[in-house]
């Protein structure tokens, strides 16, 4: 039911782990529905230089988390926040229809991490 690309990211997920001194952390989803994604980002000169994730969830949840780390790394914060869930799904050569909503949260997790990063930098600036 999953594409080869999804299975590739599921079996060899990229950038798993945490960044202890992250510049932004985002978490979305809840245990009730069975998917939680947590993303850590490191930002230097407005560019995402490192990104790591941890995910509790199904195959699609893990694959989308892995894929967004690949899509986001090296991008400016503004570019990264343009990434949408459907772009993540496209990059994975599609997801089963039933997974499009419940397990495709990676873009929201990244958005949350960027928001956290902005809050932190705003605090430092003031």
């Amino acid at each position: 039911m999953y594409s080869d690309k999804v299975m590739d990211h599921f079996t060899n997920p990229r950038n798993v782990g945490e960044i202890p001194d992250a510049d932004g952390v985002g978490e979305v989803g809840n245990a009730r529905c069975g998917d939680i994604m947590k993303l850590w980002i490191k930002v230097e000169n407005n560019v995402i230089t490192d990104i790591k994730f941890k995910t509790f969830g199904c195959g699609a949840a893990i694959a989308t988390s892995s894929m967004i780390t690949e899509l986001a790394i090296g991008k400016t914060v503004e570019e990264a926040e343009q990434i949408t869930n459907s772009q993540v799904a496209e990059a994975l050569e599609g997801l089963p229809p039933v997974k499009m909503h419940c397990s495709n949260l990676a873009a929201e997790a990244l958005e949350a991490a960027i928001e956290d990063y902005r809050k932190r930098t705003a605090n430092t600036a003031s």
């Binding site: 798993v16 245990a31 939680i36 199904c58 195959g59 893990i62 039933v98 419940c102 397990s103």
Partner: protein, 385 residues
Amino acid sequence: MNRIYMDHAATTPVRPEVLEAMLPYFNTEFGNPSSVYSWGRSARKALDSARDLVAELLGASASEIVFTAGGSEGANMAVKGVAWADQGRGKHIITSAIEHHAVLDTVLWLEKQGFEVTVLPVDEFGSVSPAQVREALRPDTILVSIMHANNEVGTIQPISEIGAIVREHGAKFHTDAVQTAGVLELDVQALNVDLLSISAHKFYGPKGVGALYVRKGVRLHPLVHGGAQEKGRRAGTENTAGIVGMAKALELAQAERVDENARLTKMRDRLIQGLQKIPHTRVNGSLEQRLPNNVNVCFEFIEGESMLLNLDLRGIAASSGSACTSGSLDPSHVLLAMGLSHEIAHGSLRLTLGRDNTEADVDVVLQEVPGIVERLRAMSPLYQG
């Protein structure tokens, strides 16, 4: 890769002896059992023998056996059939929270049609209490439907005791015996049931065929109209090959069940003990009143589907009660009814053993699962090492 199938509660392969018994009825003896010429008579004879055999194995009379297209149809036929036939006497139906959806959804559908429904809770082991059935019975209760053993956690229900209580009251009692046919002794007299449904593909027979026992005197409104087959209780040309296969499969399973259950129980207990060694693991269901082939555990902090995918990559077929595998947003209704949190219920793994499994298969599973759990936990934001 050597594949290991441990999902026998989902379905089983057709046994060679069963397939062989079925084959003539697809081509050489293809006649319609209702036809008068020799082809028809041959099919009729096979159908009658199969009915006699199934009846004998269930402790019933041949006229009390209705052939169906499987477990879901049997459950629908029993529940709707009695509800519609007896609605003049009352409109109250009792069932349990852990029924298969074939019963639960049917009862809830009837509720929308104006019937009143009591869904009994279960305890932490997934057991229905006979005392609660007694309390729930009302003068207008017409039907009680409680499964013989649960398909997810394997808990065997006190059907005989519940049946005695329901009989005393006068309501009809149906049990979904889909998971117990060919595994436990199925004597409809000893079980005190009025209706009992089974499905052939759960005991090494073909898919798409089952049987419903309907005690003499129980009125049943048919689901399918349009013919006099099955004494007007189910219209449609009989699935001769399937029915012959089911009878053969049930005969074999009942003959072998005592030895086979001992073998399965040993493997089951070794799996449960082995998996329990993984930290943050809980066993679901009763350890005493349990089907001999059922293992159901929850590994905290991880989700079931990702576990199944990893097992599949290693050639192991299993199932889970996670939302992703239940086809809804909620995890297993059975685990939730037993009081598990959503979070933990998402991490359930069910292994159901069968004829083709060996102790060597158990070794492989016990070797593979801990690593998979560890890997997924290392990836989980809920796990704090």
